[in-house]
């Protein structure tokens, strides 16, 4: 479980995350949405203990800033937006890096670590590529390798920053389906950020819309994804349709479809 109590993050004097109250229950999948710079990534970095925050952020009941980095990495696994992949590392070795917080001082992996890494590699259908260099992977395979590394951490909380950026629509669905099934298999608590609102609404239990570091809407995809809200907080022009019961967000260009863009700041 993740719980933020009036959590704020200041970067260079400005409050990038501004007094956010948010609780993500165990096993829940919540997606943060909001325009570029709304504070989604920073909020997740704070949950991962990578940036100083004010207020309170607890993960599995423990205050993030009070926990050592190893202990924290055993609780929270993060898939960054643009991971840095050492070109000549193999997929297997890379997944094994996820075991880092579980290793002793000199960092020699033991049998259990190899098993956990192999499990992660298999869960993401990468067994055939375990010996492949990272620079020889396609975009979708890379994203799966990064997920494998995060999974090998065996942390109950998974943070996904734009997990589908730069993937084709099929790979986007593939990655999200994998996350969905891993979540139910391992009872993971998932907090993510995404720009594709339609996909976010199809996969997450709950969407949290951020604007200028504040929560401006929080609820089921149906509740959050309204034309008025998206147009206002994204400074966009969209129409929301429905497909199989879930909202589909469509950009609208034709003048007859355009909705007047309102003032964006809340």
């Amino acid at each position: 479980m993740i719980r933020l109590g009036t959590a704020s993050v200041r970067l260079g004097g400005a409050a990038v995350v501004d007094g956010v109250d948010l609780t993500v229950e165990s096993g829940e999948w919540t997606m943060l949405i909001g325009r570029n710079g709304a504070g989604k990534t920073t909020l997740m970095r704070a949950v991962a203990g990578l940036v100083r925050y004010e207020g309170s952020i607890t993960v599995e009941g423990r205050e993030v800033r009070a926990v050592g980095s190893r202990e924290r990495a055993r609780t929270v696994a993060m898939v960054p937006q643009s991971p840095q992949l050492p070109a000549d590392m193999t997929v297997g070795e890379y997944a094994l890096l996820g075991r880092t917080p579980h290793l002793g001082f000199l960092g020699r992996p033991g049998h259990h670590d190899f098993v956990a890494a192999q499990d992660a590699v298999e869960s993401l259908d990468l067994d055939a590529l375990a010996g492949r260099r990272l620079d020889a992977l396609s975009g979708g395979e890379r994203q799966r390798a990064v997920l494998a590394r995060a999974l090998a951490q065996e942390a109950p909380v998974l943070l996904l920053d734009e997990p589908t950026a730069a993937l084709d629509v099929g790979r986007q669905q593939e990655v999200l389906e994998l996350v969905s099934s891993l979540r139910s298999q391992r009872n993971l608590t998932v907090l993510g950020a995404m720009h594709d609102l339609t996909l976010a609404g199809q996969y997450a239990d709950r969407l949290v819309l951020l604007d200028s570091g504040r929560v401006v809407a929080d609820g089921s995809p149906d509740e959050v994804l309204t034309e008025e809200r998206i147009n206002r907080h994204y400074a966009a022009s969209v129409r929301v349709a429905r497909l199989g019961g879930s909202p589909v967000v469509l950009p609208a260009r034709h003048p007859s479809l355009r909705v007047p863009i309102e003032e964006t700041s809340p």
């Binding site: 970095r45 050592g68 990495a73 991971p83 000549d88 917080p101 020699r108």
Partner: protein, 358 residues
């Protein structure tokens, strides 16, 4: 049944058959060892007083217990061998290993392929220390290395202190602080030299680097620092591999990045300062050796660091052999040799490997 299958699968990650590239490529290790032995033998054999390799080997054997081999060396040759050449060869090996490994370590913690052990001001600090010692204390025997060592350590400590005081000891602030400290110290050194221009020659010769011939005492002086430095850096080789995914991701994997950087920089600085204090500035080894190994044998620090020690040692011993034989009986500065031999060799390595550095 599933357990058996599972185990077989597990082995795919575990086994070295091309899957785990971090495992030591033993042919390269053996090659490095053979190269070091050959370089040491050449260093013991070549010189103004010709002592054949067979005689050197026989003499070594005669000194080993349980072997009944008589020495064929005269008293003078034995003295030349054990009091002049052997300490020089051993010192060369220690210096080469330390500089190469420290360079690899700096490249790891700064994610910077151009980092060398002098990045945070070791060279400028040691240079100023040596210059002050030569100018104001007459280069008196024991003082110069002490001053150079103190200057080197203080310079890096100052760079680190300034880097931290900015807020986070991030890579960029540390490197920039190092640049500031180095620039400042170099300016003072220039000033001191300008005031004492008669010492330019002595300082210049120190700056170019040379393997001292003052016998075993130099070896004894640097040995503790070099050992501590090497053991620490090697102990961190796996953690340094985790750093290859970048500071932030390493942090999210549970590595206390700033602490690791502090420890590794401290260890590398200690070793570098100790060898610089005794030999002066020997350039190129710290950049060239780790990169050549990365290109040829693999980029994992579990490979780069141990092999850098081996090949760095062999390379510097060989460079010293060249330095004292090419213009014999005059000696070339060893720094000139490392650059003249190293640069073309490195260019060839760059051209012939398809594997890009990572």
């Amino acid at each position: 049944m599933t357990d058996v299958v599972h185990r077989a699968e597990t082995r795919r990650i575990e086994q070295p058959s091309g899957t785990v590239r971090g495992d030591m490529p033993w042919p390269w290790f053996a090659g490095g060892l053979a190269g070091l032995v050959a370089a040491v033998l050449a260093g013991m054999t070549l010189g103004p007083a010709a002592i054949p390799a067979s005689a050197v080997l026989a003499d070594v054997a005669s000194r080993l217990p349980l072997l009944d081999v008589g020495t064929q060396l005269s008293q003078i040759d034995a003295t030349v061998l054990w009091e002049l050449r052997a300490p020089r060869v051993v010192l060369g090996a220690l210096v080469g290993a330390t500089l190469a490994m420290a360079g690899g370590a700096y490249q790891a913690v700064f994610h910077n392929p151009l980092a060398d052990p002098y990045l945070l001001g070791v060279a400028a600090g040691a240079g100023l220390g040596a210059t002050v010692a030569i100018a104001y204390a007459g280069a008196g025997g024991g003082l110069l290395p002490v001053a150079a060592f103190a200057g080197a350590v203080l310079a890096v400590a100052a760079a680190y202190g300034i880097g931290r005081s900015v807020g986070t000891a991030s890579r960029a602030t540390l490197v920039l602080a190092g640049v500031a400290v180095a620039g400042f110290l170099s300016a003072i050194q220039t000033f001191v030299l300008q005031q004492n221009s008669e010492d330019v020659r002595a300082v210049y010769s120190w700056l170019l680097g040379r393997l001292s011939t003052s016998g075993w005492s130099d070896v004894v002086v640097v040995l503790p620092y070099v050992v501590v430095s090497a053991v620490t850096i090697l102990a961190y080789r796996r953690v340094l591999d985790v750093l290859r995914v970048g500071d932030e991701e390493a942090e999210s994997l549970g590595v206390a990045v700033n602490r690791v950087r502090l420890i590794v920089v401290a260890a590398a600085t200690l070793g570098t300062a100790a060898v610089v204090a005794v030999t002066g500035l020997i350039g190129f080894v710290g950049i060239l050796v780790p990169h050549a190994i990365r290109l040829l044998a693999g980029a994992s620090y579990r490979i780069v660091l141990p092999l850098s020690a081996l090949f760095g040692a062999a390379f510097l011993v060989l460079a010293d052999v060249i330095a004292r034989t090419v213009l014999s009986p005059a000696e070339l500065p060893i720094g000139v040799v490392t650059a003249c031999v190293g640069a073309p060799f490195f260019a060839v390595v760059l051209r012939t490997t398809t594997r890009g550095p990572s």
